[in-house]
């Protein structure tokens, strides 16, 4: 029989915000598994995020995503944000069913901040990546019904002094990539582009250019991925994560890169 004083030793799970929610507000978590088989009508029509990617460079990682959410062959949203700051040194790029994915990103942000406040220090990058994997695994029943969430996670590893990036599968499996990765409906096209253009230890400007170029290629080939919209002034989200934190690349810089690439390809 476990003595009462021992409880404090097994209470480490309460540095976890999801654990707090599970105990005190379970209605805020995804519903428990009730999956009994494939729904014959297929998944309900919901907006899907499309292409997000992460590229490693000299000072850390660049993360980027297009701004379109698609629902079947329709544009559901033109200005959606897919790269979420998780904490000062990491970010999540969401791909898949937009609703559950954004909720997962929000829960993940709170999870990291909660841990930091309760424990008084940050989780390691490895710890953050594992935690996100566990959250994806919890979503598996919903994924089996068609609401798949497969983020890309990247951040700066303070201990190792380098940027690192992780991809996930639908079961929460976590795989580290060394150079770059792209996820979502245009992910393969973006990866094909990066395969040719990526080099080790790129500077910031070149890394951003390679990243934006990969997104343009994905938008070229994939229906679901939105290209830069010069008319409406909508450009991809680009964030850099380095030792000194996360910063957004201003729209004007992204526009400059987009125009330069299109110019080089003789289409502007």
């Amino acid at each position: 029989m476990e003595a009462r004083w021992q409880a404090a030793f097994f209470d480490y799970a309460t540095s976890s915000f999801s654990e707090v929610l599970r105990r005190s507000a379970p209605h805020l978590l995804p519903p428990p598994s009730t999956w009994t088989g494939q729904d014959p009508q297929g998944p309900p029509p919901v907006p899907h995020g499309t292409t997000v990617l992460a590229v490693r460079y000299r000072d850390g990682v660049v993360m980027a995503g297009d701004r379109q959410a698609s629902e079947g062959y329709q544009v559901a949203h033109r200005r959606i944000e897919k790269i979420f700051k998780a904490d000062d040194l990491s970010a999540v790029g969401i791909a898949g069913a937009a609703g559950p994915a954004m909720e997962m990103a929000r829960l993940f942000q709170t999870e990291l901040e909660h841990y930091e406040k309760v424990e008084g220090e940050n989780l390691s990058l490895e710890g953050k990546a594992n935690r996100l994997g566990q959250m994806i695994r919890v979503n598996l029943p919903m994924a089996m019904q068609g609401l798949v969430v497969v983020p890309v996670f990247a951040g700066f590893d303070e201990k190792a002094g380098v940027g690192r990036l992780f991809k996930y599968d639908v079961t929460g499996g976590r795989y580290e990539e060394t150079d770059y990765f792209a996820q979502g409906s245009g992910g393969k096209d973006a990866r094909d582009s990066l395969k040719k253009r990526f080099k080790r230890d790129l500077g910031k400007d070149e890394a951003v250019r390679v990243t934006v170029e990969a997104l343009l290629d994905a938008a070229d080939e994939d229906l679901g991925t939105g290209g830069p919209d010069l008319m409406r002034g909508i450009f991809p989200t680009v964030k850099t994560i380095t030792r000194s934190g996360i910063s957004d690349l201003p729209d004007d810089d992204v526009r400059r890169h987009c125009e330069a690439i299109l110019n080089d390809r003789g289409r502007l």
Binding site: F17, E113, K117, V118
Partner: protein, 230 residues
Amino acid sequence: MPLPYYVSPEQMMKDKAEYARKGISRGKAIVTIEYRDGILLVAENPSTLLHKISEIYDRIAFAGVGKYNEFENLRVAGVRHADVKGYSYSRGDVSAKALANAYSQGLGNIFTQDIKPFEVEVLVVEVGDPNGSKNEIYHILYDGTIEDEKNFAAMGGQADEIRRYLKENFQEGLDLAGALQLGVRALMVTQNKTLTERDLEVAVLDRNKERRRFRRIPSEVLHQLLEPGT
């Protein structure tokens, strides 16, 4: 079976209060002072690892005196309260007032129902926005008594004398160095030794910061701020 001794409720409460006050007055003091850019919290605390002042949420900080394990429990409960509330509604809906009320309820229940009361006092402070909304300072005692304070507050050992000193010397619109020096002088009123950056734990809620406004002041910076003339 022998009958339990009868103790009148008045006597029981008096004994508990005396017990709690004794425990608290043994501890070192904490002061909080409003300054130009927000709220400053200064604790006499030689440990750099065991904190008495901590972040609760974007605009809210916590400070506790007394028994460490007891106020640490309260602190973690506060972080949970704030994070659950912010997650289920929005970050702007998390308020110091609700949190201070929760602490007041909790401490009040413990005081009346448990054999041993908590030997703690806590401060919950919330910084206003740059557009001029007011700061809030709540002081909650071991028995659940809650007070809202203006300009400054003090708690812990010999808090009365510290409060008196602050009342005489507080001015509005101090800068960070001025407020810090005032706070440290107030903490020194009751003792002969000089406090240096090594004896202090200092944090601010800076209204000009984005989102999370809590910031600890590292000892190198403290050293500079404590130099006379800054």
